[in-house]
Each structure stands twice: as structure tokens, then as C-alpha cells.
């Protein structure tokens, strides 16, 4: 029934992990390339250490700014357990990019629950899944805090958008002193996903 070619990207993580910067760079690149783009995020209470998500949709003409359950083409999880929380949002046959990085939530910190230890296996058995250690990759490229940009690189490559002008997009969103390290992290993230494809 739909006549359009819209792609839906869901970025999820924990408040403070930098999903917003990653989606800002992503949308800057997509807009410059001439796509219609919509992006949606929720502010307020959930930002206080809660689960956060940013939704990005692009194509010739985009209507809804939000992605319904089972409709995301790709799910990028900045934290491991968040990948499984949002798995129902992924389209069957869609792709998961997941950071091998665990942040225990309060029920786990207080000892009431344990951090589930076989999430990656479950993801891999249910969807085309790319696991990466974005913290280590970011560290190796000069700044552990650029984990978000590493994940963005993997996302871009997974969507086949590597030929857009990401250099300009990144420069428009990042302070000049952080540009070089972030460009390295973006490139490293892209190479991780390239290896995955090959």
C-alpha cells in the first residue's frame, strides 16, 4: 500500500550515551544528500539514566516521524540490553548493530535482577547482527567517548550510505578540536561493518 521508499533507523541506548549527536551527524549527511528526513526523540524524565531512543526516517517523501513496532530496517544499540528491549521494533529480516557494552540498570545494581548473559547469542539467532566493541575501537582511535561515532560509522556502512559526504556532516556537528579523532572513529566504525559484509 505504501508507495514510498522510506528507510527507518532506530538508535537506542541509555541517557547520556550520545545517541543524539550520532543522529545529528546522520541527519546532516542525509539532508545534504537531498533526502527528505524526519527524526524524533523524547526529552524529559527518561533522560535521567533511563532507556532512550532516537528515530530517523529518510527517503523521497517521509510522513510519520516515528517508526511503529516491527518496522525498523536497522536497530543500532549503544548498550547491549537495549538491543533486546527494542528488538520488537525491528522488521523481521532487518539488521542489528549492537555495542558489546553493558550498563547495568537499577534492578541489576540493587541485586534484585542479574544482567542477562546471553543477549548477543539471542540477537544473533533472531536477526542479522553485527556485534562490535565500540569502546575499544574508540579508545584505539584516541577517545573512548567517541563510541557513538564508531557506532554511527557501522550504521552508515550497513545502510550502504558510505559514499555520502560524512566529512562535512561531522564537521558541522562537532567542535573543531574533536573533528580529527571523530573522523578516525567514524572510519573505524565503517571498516568494522565492511568486514562484516565481506
Amino acid at each position: 500500500m505504501k508507495t514510498h521508499d522510506t528507510k527507518s533507523i532506530l538508535l537506542v541506548g541509555v541517557g547520556g550515551q550520545g545517541t543524539i549527536l550520532a543522529s545529528k551527524i546522520l541527519t546532516a549527511g542525509l539532508v545534504a544528500a537531498g533526502y527528505d528526513v524526519k527524526m524524533s526523540e523524547v526529552h524529559g524524565m527518561s533522560q535521567r539514566g533511563g532507556s532512550v531512543s532516537t528515530q530517523v526516517r529518510y527517503g523521497t517523501k517521509v510522513y510519520s516521524p516515528i517508526i511503529g513496532r516491527g518496522q525498523a530496517d536497522i536497530l543500532v544499540a549503544f548498550e547491549t540490553m537495549e538491543a533486546i528491549r527494542y528488538l520488537p521494533d525491528l522488521k523481521p529480516g532487518g539488521k542489528v548493530v549492537v555495542n558489546d557494552y553493558q550498563m547495568p540498570s537499577l534492578p541489576i545494581l540493587s541485586g534484585e535482577r542479574e544482567y542477562p548473559d546471553n543477549i548477543l547469542e539471542e540477537l544473533q539467532s533472531k536477526a542479522d547482527t553485527l556485534v562490535l566493541d565500540a569502546a575499544a575501537i574508540a579508545q584505539a582511535n584516541g577517545n573512548p567517548k567517541s563510541m557513538n561515532v564508531v557506532l554511527l560509522g557501522a550504521l552508515i556502512q550497513s545502510l550502504g550510505l558510505q559514499d555520502l559526504d560524512w566529512d562535512t556532516a561531522l564537521r558541522s556537528c562537532v567542535k573543531s578540536k574533536f573533528v580529527e579523532v571523530n573522523l578516525r572513529c567514524l572510519d573505524a566504525g565503517m571498516r568494522t561493518a565492511e568486514g562484516d559484509r565481506g
Binding site: V31, V37, K38, V42, H43, S46, P65, G68, R69, L106
Partner: protein, 597 residues
Amino acid sequence: MARQLVTGNEAVARGAYEAGVSFASAYPGTPSTEILENVGTYREITAEWAPNEKVAMEAAIGASMGGVRSMAAMKHVGLNVAADPIFTFAYMGVSGGMVFVSADDPGMHSSQNEQDNRNYAKFMKIPMLEPSDSQEAKDMFRDAFDISEKYDTPVMFRMTTRVCHSKSLVELGERKEFAAIPYVKNRMKNDNVPAVARNLRVKMLERDRRLAAYTNDCPYNFAEYNGSKKIGIVTSGISYQYAKEVFGDSASYLKLGLTNPLPMDMIREFRSNVDTLYVIEELDPFLEEQIRAAGIDCVGKDKIPLVGELNPNIIRKALLDEDVPEILFNRNLIVDRPPTLCAGCPHRGFFYECAKRSDTVMVGDIGCYALGGSEPLNAKDMAICMGAAFSLAHGLDKAFRKSGQDKTIVACMGDSTFFHTGINSLEEVVYNDSHVICCILDNRITGMTGHQENPGTGYSLQGEPATIMDIETIVRSLGIERVRTVNPLHLDDMKAALDWAYREVHEGPVVLITRWPCVLKKLSTEDRREFRPVPAVCTVHHDTCIGCKKCLTTGCPALSFDKYERKVSIDPLQCNGCTVCAQVCPKQAIVKGAKKA
């Protein structure tokens, strides 16, 4: 000019700029907060944080009476606070155009209810515009001022969370200055004593009739006929985007932008051109009830939920009975991740010491400290709306004393909430003499909405220095003598202050002020002088840690417990050395050290 990707809130601010608005006021509240933050970036506009929404609305009304274009912005529940002035201003009409934003929160992402404020526009008999994306938000907001002046009425601009916080592409325009209208005294318009108001009420009904004619010609109400006329959809706001997503070109649309009054002639004509009419709207059957009352048959809330936010899947299921396939997996792998007080949050010390006390009823309020009710602190019984904590506590105290229930009542609210309406609530406690412990959690900023200045912080919205209102001085001036200010991160001091308050409250009202800045606040010069922050981090000596988990009862997200080693660790990235965990450790296993750069 190139198109820019902006949120609905940024777009409204741009619309205000292009319309030549001179004055804007608001009280922060999700999802509306960024409107005034963005208006404040235009130097041509005076943008202010008011102490509450009623004051913001009144200030904007005054500016309109003074002859300039003005606006106010608030979240849906803020309009309840501001309802008093605007209901009457709706009788009086404007001088300079006046538009206010009501940002509703279907789904309650960050709110205590999901009231549908479209009902207000009908109740007030004023025009209402509803944008469905950022381009419309900008254009409609700009044009709302023309409607306001032409029809001599305030205009309600109704948005929802998804329109406020979604980004879409917008073509920007230039500012058109609005020539201020010289002030002329006119009591028959502006002095709403009963004799005047009776006349204005009649005039308002005439205006409503003129608007009912205009709405059928308004360019923001339009029909979109596609190949198929089997299905016709009447919709407005974000629901239009969802409907387009689901039905695409397989349906025709009547897209409504001016939704009060409704263009009933247009709806009737559209109905006659389609086989089945769907009304797609979030929350209340606002459109549907009026359409049905006009004798037009339609499908609406008999299929579409009355509760929560819509999305394309819900519409697809409701109207087409189509399910979207989902990946099935082991759901036991999901552990909740509720929002928590941040590592280093000064509220933690307060709630930790309160939680230990039995026979206490804890009354909360709206702000980050709402999280004091969550596990493991679990230190809250109730909360209702902004500024209510002390007045609720007052009523509880009266009830408990009449019925012989022996409980201590502790009520808490933040600094910004105190200035909002909490100050009135405290007057009630003093004037009608209740024995409650009123706590003002002063973290030197409006926290939950993302750090807006308030009357206590010393700065205005646009960064100008402002008079600092001192909370302790205000409290004492109300006639309360039992007042103490304490650093809540020093648990011994916090405990001593509460012990004192629990003793003193038998004699009359007590006020405790906890004073320490929000851990995320960008400190002002005054803050640095007062609090002298030194970057620090806590670490756990694993040879001393006995794994008793006492520190975990503070609910700090920087702490984690290793079940194999049976030791606690602290995440150095999150920790900022507040030492609350160190103070509760029975073995002194947690020590504070310098933070590495």
C-alpha cells in the same frame, strides 16, 4: 534559503521571529520548553521565564494590550494554571496579536496526565491551529498573529510531543517588523467588570460566528482528493502524518489546520464525495463528536483508541485489521531500566535519610525528585501537580489530627516549583497552621526540563543578571520561625536536621531547605564561590569491602555489584565524588580521591 532540519519547537520560535513578535514568556515544561529557549536566541524579541504559566500568560496579555505582538508557551497542564486569565482575555480581544502554545503530551512521556487541550479552545471560544510538522509549525505560528488581529482574539496553538520534538525540513523566511499600536485607554474593552463583560460576551459570540465562516476558507483547511474516493479521512496534527503513512494515495484526506471552530461546510462536502468517512485523531473524539452532532456519519473512536499516543501500526490495526509481524524472542532477557536520580544528585542524600523513618507520609511534587519514589529509595507516598506538596500535606495533617492518626508528614518540592506555586501552598500551611515538615530541595536550577533559570538563580532566560530571591528569607518573611538550611550530601547534617524537624513539628510548621547545585548544572560564578567544587571520584577498596550492599540502597547508578567477587565497584565516568555511598559504608571501604583529567 536552504531548508533546515528543525524541531517543531524551533520552528515555532522561528515563526514568532518572522511574525515580528516583540515579547514572549513561558514556564518550562516538557514538551514545550525549547520553544522559549529558541525564541530567546533572537535578540529582536524579549524572551522571559515567568515563575509560572499563569504569570507568563498574563505578561503576554499585558504586552498585547501595550500594542506589540506577544506570545506565551506552556505544556498542557500548564494551561490549567494559566486558564484564569486567558478565559477572560478571550472576551476582551487583543491590541497587538497574541498567540499561546499548548504542548500536549499524549502517551505521557513526561507528564502526570494526558488531557486533550483541544477542548479548551472550544470552551474558550477562540481559534485553534494544529500543525502536523515543523514547516506548518513555523508558517501557522507566523500567520496565527494575523488571525488574532483580524478577529480580535487570542489564538491557541496546539502541539503534541511528536510535533514539538520531531525534526523535519523547514524553509525559513525573513522577519517582518510589526509596527507597535499606540496605547489608548479603552475601559469598555479592557476593564472586565461585570457590566463590560456582559457586552463582551455577546461580542464574543458574534466573533465565533465570523470565525465559523472563515474556517471554511482558511488555507490551512484543505481537501486532498486522490484516485480513490472509497475512503475519506478527516484528520489534524500528527495524526495526518500517520494516516498518510498508512493509507498513502489509497484514500482522500481532509486535512484540518484550523480546528476550532471546525469547517463544518467543508466536512459535509467532503463526506458527500467519499464512501466511508474515517476520523483519525489522538485522545478525545474532539472532531468526531462535533461531526456526529452535525448529523454526519463517520468511523472514529469506535475503532481507534481513546488512550495514549497513536502511531501508524495502531491505525493500521484499527481500520484495516492488519497486524505487523514481529520477531519473537526470549523476553526474560529484558530487565527494566527506569529513570534514576543521577550519580551525585543532591536529592539522593535527602531521600536516603527520609526513607529510613517510619510513620512518615512523604508528599512529593513535580520535578526530578519525583524519582525519590522509585526503588530502592522508595521514599514517597503521593504527588499530584506543580506546587501542591505543601497544600496536600496541609490537608493530610488536618485529616490525621481530626481522626487521631499519628503520622509525621514530610512534603518536598524543588526551588523552581516553590517559586511556581509552592509559595502559595506554603502560605496555606502558615495561615491555617498545619504541623508539617516542608522541604524545599534547592538545587539552584530548574532541573528536569534541562536547566532553565528561575527567580532564585540570578540570571534571566537571555542571560542577563537578575535579582536573586533568597528562599530562606522568603520563608521567614511568611512568618515561619523554624527554618534550617542544610547540605543534603552531608548525611549526618541531613539526619540531624530531620531529627530536629521531627521534634519541632509538634509545635508548628517547619521548613528545611536543602541547598546544593544539580550535579549537571553549569555552575555560575556565584555557585563556584558558594560551593567551591573540586573534581573528585570515589573508589572501593576491594580488600575492605565485605559485599554487604549497604551502599546500593542509595540507588546510585555509578555503583555496581559483582556477584562472583561479591564486591562493589564504582564507574569513574559517572561518579563525581559526592560520597553519599562512602558515608553509608559500615567498613569505610569507599574513599574519595582526585578525579583524573
